[in-house]
């Protein structure tokens, strides 16, 4: 079963490392709230396999002035797509 992992705290939390221990091929990762700070330099996502889609909530990027600074691997999504993603994957695992 595939999972969408949501990460909602900044890189200082170390959440990405815990999350990656559970991530399987085909899972997706969505950055929300302060989690969107993972999306700009320095590159913190080098360990994430190309099998895993990466998303970030556009509203949270905009609010923090990060929309133009994010890595090309990351797809910004709005609230509507956020909801669709939670349905597209079999389950959601939230990291906060």
């Amino acid at each position: 079963m595939s999972a969408l992992h949501t990460i909602s705290a900044s890189p200082t939390s170390g959440l990405i490392n815990s999350c990656l221990r559970l991530v399987c091929p085909g899972d997706g990762i969505l950055f929300i709230q302060d989690g969107v700070y993972h999306c700009c330099p320095p590159d913190l996502l080098g360990d994430v396999s190309q099998d895993n889609a990466l998303f970030a909530l556009r509203e949270d990027l905009l609010a923090r002035g990060l929309l133009g600074k994010i890595s090309e691997r990351i797809t910004p999504v709005g609230f509507g797509r956020f909801v669709e993603l939670t349905v597209d994957y079999d389950k959601v695992i939230s990291w906060s």
């Binding site: 815990s18 221990r21 389950k91 990291w95």
Partner: protein, 120 residues
């Protein structure tokens, strides 16, 4: 009611917040409804398992007492992430209750095959 497999991941140390207690309460509630419950200690959550705790000194309830109730509710096996133990220089002998230690692949598979993962 369809039986689902639920995995509860407890990742916080025991007394700094109420999250550790919350995960236990949620898992016990699920067990009462006869769901298949897995209970996994990860990250700082493994500090909940350290022996010889006595939280009376900080006017709290010692978490070990609460953890002992897991078995009473039919959650027979407490699971622990091996990496989290190693990172904190802990081993099975340091722990207050019997646990099953899972390696990285086993933890990943546990989450993958669960219908629902509650992670606090």
């Amino acid at each position: 009611m369809q039986r689902k497999s639920l995995t509860f991941i407890t990742r916080q140390a025991p007394y700094g917040s109420n999250k550790a207690k919350l995960v236990i309460d949620a898992a016990l509630a699920a067990a009462v409804f006869e769901q298949q419950v897995n209970f996994l200690f990860m990250d700082d959550g493994v500090f909940q398992l350290v022996q010889n705790q006595n939280a009376e000194s900080i006017s709290s309830k010692t978490i070990g007492r609460v953890l002992e109730t897991l078995e009473l509710y039919g959650i027979e096996q407490a699971l622990v992430d091996s990496v989290s133990l190693e990172e904190r220089d802990l081993s099975a002998e340091d722990l207050a209750i019997p646990v099953k230690i899972l390696n990285v692949e086993q933890v990943r598979q546990l989450a993958a095959r669960s219908d629902v993962v509650i992670n606090l």
